[in-house]
């Protein structure tokens, strides 16, 4: 047991830092929500998100968690940890997880050779944008009750149904989708995992606008959609096993420790710039205490994540305790957004887009400091994190049942 970084780790950090400095430039706006700044077109937005993805692809650093033979990188957990930290510090564009984090490992574990070839290649090159078609209006937390139906007719499945909350489906070329192929036995036993081309006739994508004003999620309607049988992953009716495998991976990624660290240092910068009774807000004892408590909690999460990763690297794959990472990670992210909102005081309320503020004319004051832009929207938007990826209530149920044996 030790916490040392070796000399080669330090060198690695230097190399990574240099690479990011030389190769990353901020796209015109950051994060997944830029489409609400309507000056950015949908194509530009997609381009912006993919820019960093493509840079990393060229470098060969895109998929550290994949085995090398499939285009992954042979990094130790320490190196992966350093990589995450450096990316967070530089504020690099978050990579879209649907292909890289979710589907990739599934295909590596369950796909046939043909799927391993085309699916993984498309994910890495950025050519194929994937979305996740799990949830349905009637099947959220109780995912196994899903009803979207796939009927085998010759060498095709005919898919009919309705998916909802499909993140960024408006850009997607493909959707990995849970469908019902049998109604015999327990609901979990009749589910299959299909890869669906979003250009297939019969697919209709409708936007859902969220409380923060963003267009991130969608409804996907499927009417007599023809899917070739070779797009089935694994065997028919084994979709639930695959889905659970995937959710395990989704959960570990969700802790977001490095990005939360960065967000806390940003919060401190803001609280140092804001004034409260003539002094920086950061020295206000009650505010200071709240930030400090959060920092301590994040440190605890950091070491919990490192312990989980260390276990994983020895082949003891993520157990139910990875639910801790999801719960704590999202609670901390939400709390940071909450304190940041608190920090900006009266400037919490303007509803502006960065582009519209600056162009109003010189006779008018700017609306709040730069750092106040979008803070409230972010606070509202962050509420999603305790709902998606298996809600935090469901994660607690999992720990209660699987870890504590209750």
């Amino acid at each position: 047991m030790d916490l040392e970084f070796t000399k080669s780790d330090q060198e690695f950090r230097e190399e990574v830092r240099q690479f990011i400095a030389n190769n990353f430039s901020q796209p015109n706006a950051s994060g997944q929500n830029i489409e609400k700044y309507h000056e950015v077109t949908s194509d530009q937005m997609k381009e912006g998100i993919l820019e960093w993805h493509k840079t990393l692809y060229k470098k060969g650093w895109l998929a550290p968690h994949w085995p090398e033979e499939y285009g992954g990188v042979d990094w130790s957990i320490t190196q992966r940890y350093i990589w995450d930290q450096e990316c967070a510090n530089a504020g690099t564009t978050p990579l879209i997880p649907f292909g890289l984090t979710m589907l990739g490992p599934v295909i590596i574990a369950y796909g046939n050779d043909h799927q391993k070839d085309w699916v993984l290649k498309g994910i890495l090159s950025g050519e194929d944008w994937w979305c996740q078609g799990y949830s349905e209006p009637g099947a959220g937390s109780d995912l196994a009750s899903l009803r979207t139906k796939a009927e085998k007719v010759g060498d095709h499945y005919i898919v009919n149904g309705h998916k909802i909350w499909t993140t960024l489906a408006q850009y997607a070329d493909w959707m990995f989708c849970l469908v019902r192929t049998s109604s015999d036995g327990k609901p979990q036993e009749g589910i299959s995992f299909l890869l669906i081309d979003m250009k297939t006739p019969g697919i209709d994508v409708k936007p859902i606008i969220t409380v923060d004003g963003g267009h991130e999620v969608n409804e996907v309607f499927l009417e007599d959609v023809k899917v070739p049988v070779e797009n089935l992953v694994g065997e028919e009716n084994m979709g639930w096993t695959i889905a659970k495998f995937l959710l395990g991976n989704e959960r570990t990624g969700i802790a977001g420790v490095a990005r939360s660290k960065k967000a806390i240092s940003r919060l401190k910068e803001i609280a140092n710039a804001e004034y409260n009774d003539g002094k920086p807000l950061m020295v206000d004892p009650s505010f200071n205490q709240k930030v400090t408590e959060l920092e301590v909690e994040l440190t605890a999460l950091e070491y919990t994540e490192l312990r989980t990763l260390a276990k994983e690297s020895k082949g003891e794959g993520p157990g139910a305790e990875s639910s801790i990472l999801k719960i704590k990670g999202t609670e901390i992210q939400q709390k940071i957004s909450e304190l940041t909102l608190e920090a900006i005081g009266n400037y919490a309320s303007p509803y502006l887009t960065p582009l519209s503020v600056r162009s109003f004319g010189s006779n008018y004051p700017e609306v709040g400091p730069d750092y106040s832009q979008g803070v409230a929207q972010n606070y509202f938007g962050m509420r999603k994190t305790s709902i998606y990826g298996g809600s935090n209530e469901i994660q607690r149920n999992i720990i209660a049942k699987m870890v504590l044996g209750l």
């Binding site: 959220g140 606008i209 005081g345 309320s349 509803y351 502006l352 409230a376 509420r383």
Partner: protein
Amino acid sequence: MDFSFSEEQTLLRNTIQSFLQDNYDFDSRKAIIQSEDGMSKENWQQLAELGLLGVPFSEADGGLDFGPVETMIVAEEFGKGLVIEPYIQTVVTCGGFLRRASESQRQEHLSKIISGEEIWAFAHAEPQGRFNLSDIKVNASKNNDEYSLNGHKCVVSGAPWAQKLIVSARTSGDQSDKDGISLFIVDKSAEGVSLRDYKTVDGSMASEVTFENVKIDSSSIIGEEGKAYDLIELVVDETIAALCAEAIGAMSVLNDATVEYCKTRKQFGQPIGKFQVLQHRMVDMFMQYEQSVSMTYMVNLKLSEDELERRKAASGAKVQICNASKFIGQSAVQLHGGMGMTDELNVGHYFKRLAMIETQFGNADHHLKKYSSAS
């Protein structure tokens, strides 16, 4: 001791409820927000016709001569309807100042507020001042019978719709002295006043307002020069009492909606309201609401007590309302799952309004300190 409402008060509540039923369903509200004006002038006129714009004013001034309890009823009902129109800003806050203004000022202005002809906004906050009502840099210097006003007020709620502003400005003293603050009535169209209007996240509107050598006649000062701080605190406490009432209105809708949703939404073959962890969360929401109602009644009943008692009541109530707003808002979204995150459902809109009430006129930390210093 009696916490019941009189027949007249119940009638008032019914009047507002039926107004909202006819004019303020969720879709109409949305249309109002998206309209050119961002509020409904017609609704404002209707409020005038119903007499609601005259609630706190004396009969001599043309009002209904009601007290804080009636204002509380109006604000609570408006909270249930998420009303956009700037009632609290105009009637409670600016009206609160004007009620205590000189005879001639009351005569000149109050009838225009009561008839719905004019909307008013209170410009008090400044970028460096956070929630401190005496941290004021906006400056008014006197020259003969005229003041010249300079500086920047931020996030002035309702200002885009206003014809008149009441502005707190420094006429003497240092930046955060309580002495040396004066209140001015400023015509929004006066030379040197510029506004940068914008939407706010809760569907309302506000402005950044700058004053550049704005000439103000000395007859437009409210009260005595340099002695406005106590009046500002009083009226802000009254405003807080009304905001608390608005908040409990919004909370009650969220709580009802959440309980209803959990009774009907089924997962795992049963209504999600059967899961005990959600039941307990809803019980906590309910308790937070009840505690908030108590504090709201308390502060509204104590507005006319001596200064220290009143300040304590207002700050105590605001702390409770801030904490409850956060808990209830976040929990309502959580229990609605993905639906709670949508713009389509009303839940998110109540959540956003409650989040803004948290910061208006000081958040929980600010009022905890005020409470402690008043104890």
